[in-house]
Point group: C2
Chain length 367, copies 2
């Protein structure tokens, strides 16, 4: 979770959901789809993933307004075989195409033991973690990946060739909350570098390179033409492993579905158009689900997950560290706080929302 910004104002979760829904409807997204898209964005804001929630609403609006995203997509099956299928998202909002395709993966899992949906011709789908959480509700193990705008170099490379390509997967517990894994395959997100620049702080070795490919501790040097490094960073950190992960996500999401892969991924930004060369349609997602009951009794599995959680939590911490967390703990902690105290929204983000309010005539209320 990035360090909280000092310049924030509190909104209720419900006011942000209502605003987001109304705004999507203004841009001709059908009501049910607008509610769904707002739910995906709200998941991020409510769980402390500030980079993937309402902070991105302006870009979705810009792209809808410019006709670069289709508000009323007709999702179609390109190809299917038993537990797998490829879906064409008809250039819809990833926030709408994504949940519908995850549903399909879940249906397939119930029928065939597992379900796998590759998606092409889609757009930014919010936080990767939203999708496996959908699967938890039906006692399935869910998985999601997406490729994204290129911002990361391959190991040893000096040019942006891959996205921050996240992976998310979740496992249900019985009495314990789920193990919820959701992370980008880059060393850090672009947002972390931006925050460091805003605060005037230097950044650690292994996060970024500058425009000439040299390692840099200055966030400005990354932002002005540099690039992010893959998880692991350099040779000493096993940066080739982060490159492997980003490659795996890029191929499963985009090459397998017929979307744009690598540096050709359609950028999620109004000021950058698609690459001159297109190698597929839109960007790509990959959704998966496994039926636990196909492998073992689901109660037993969930009881074992509880025990796994207790075991990891009981690890002696490193000196000076408070405790060992379970993947998903930071998001759960943020949720507890935010559902009680409200959602802190950055003033820059509020300015972007006020701009949307002016254009659409929709009231931005704090509660």
């Amino acid at each position: 979770m990035p360090a909280p910004d000092i310049q924030t104002i509190i909104f209720t979760a419900e006011s942000l959901r209502q605003f987001t829904t109304a705004v999507f409807e203004h841009f001709n997204v059908p009501h049910e789809d607008a509610v769904l898209a707002a739910d995906v964005l709200a998941y991020s804001d409510e769980h402390g993933i500030d980079s993937h929630g309402i902070a991105r609403l302006k870009t979705y609006c810009d792209l809808l307004k410019a006709g670069r995203i289709n508000p009323k997509p007709t999702i179609s099956v390109v190809r299917a075989k038993g537990s797998v299928a490829t879906i064409d998202g008809d250039n819809g909002l990833g926030l709408v195409v994504g949940p519908k395709c995850m549903e399909l993966a879940m249906q397939k899992a119930k029928e065939h033991g597992s379900g796998w949906i590759g998606v092409c011709n889609t757009n930014h789908y919010g936080a990767a973690g939203y999708y496996p959480v959908m699967a938890l509700k039906e006692d399935l193990i869910g998985l999601s990946m997406t490729n994204t705008t290129a911002g990361v170099v391959p190991f040893n490379g000096a040019e942006k060739m891959l996205g921050t390509n996240p992976i998310a997967i979740a496992f249900p517990g019985l009495r314990e909350p789920p193990v919820l894994i959701d992370f980008a395959s880059s060393a850090v997100s672009y947002g972390k570098v931006e925050i460091a620049r805003r605060k005037g702080e230097m950044i650690p070795e292994g996060w970024c390179i500058d425009k000439d490919g040299y390692s840099t501790n200055d966030p400005a040097e990354m932002i002005e033409g540099g690039a992010l490094l893959p998880l692991g960073g350099d040779k000493d950190g096993s940066g080739h492993k982060g490159y492997c992960l980003a490659s795996m996500v890029d191929i499963l999401t985009a090459v397998l579905s017929g979307a744009n892969w690598g540096p050709f991924a359609v950028p999620f930004a109004i000021h950058f158009g698609p690459s001159n060369k297109q190698v597929g349609k839109g960007i790509g997602h990959f959704f998966g689900a496994w039926d636990i009951e196909g492998f073992r009794d689901k109660e037993e599995f969930k009881r074992n997950i509880d025990e796994w959680i207790h075991t990891m939590r009981s690890t002696k911490p490193q000196p000076g560290k408070e405790k060992v967390l379970i993947p998903g703990d930071p998001e759960r902690e943020a949720y507890q706080i935010r559902m009680k105290e409200g959602i802190p929204v950055n003033k820059e983000v509020i300015a972007s929302l006020e701009e949307i309010a002016t254009v659409t005539g929709i009231d931005l209320r704090r509660e």
Copy 2:
């Protein structure tokens, strides 16, 4: 690939295969299974993965001799549903159970579009990359994971709770060789730390902690009661991501199949018995396969993989770096050299093979 040891002697690939096969047969492994197990080990030696090939033969023999591995397992289906199943490996060699279960995953993929096999009651299965390579031969995308003896701390932890838990996946090209991904979810392997100690070298920050949980640059301090860090290492390196990966592998391989997970994984070592507490049977593997044809035309997919490879290779390298590689290049390069010049075997490993030769009466020939 670890730096080559200076103290090596060259063996032909065929002589090592013959020796390995005969040795497994000596310990009552049926001929066909012995050939298969030798093939899995040979894959590592022939591709430069020195830590996972014949260097481990002594441990397999010790465990077979001590009755801790069953030379004649009867593999059985515990549970199945469409594209998924759980297999009990009957405490057999992972080198035999593994390939048979990967075959099952591949059969399921051909029938159901994808195939997923969880395996409990199994043992060390060699290099994770062997299994997806099996799938390539039938134009499937293959995936393998295994949990291993605990040697890695969870993020912020000071105790070994997870294995180096590797992930491997491979994608076939048309004219290009495959994209072959195979990496441990720890920052580095134990072998790398051992090599540094042997050479009297210090190790970088982010690889290890000492017995008290403090970061250390001294390989001896890790080996004497310390532990490996997850990929990413510390907070600055996003070590929580490596912990997430190791957790994902541990749960999919062991919790889902009913094997021993986390710190309870049965150690692959003769001098350490299983943990007093057992939470399942043996260790766990997880194999997967997707039928490319279920998603898109396989020729198109492979042509796109070729283009993906060309694109990544053409990335401008960082200053001082030669070029950007494709996952699998180091193994392919080693294979080219070794199939021509032979396999360099470390003198310590040769001593262990000579010991086996003495006990079994099987000749160790260099060609």
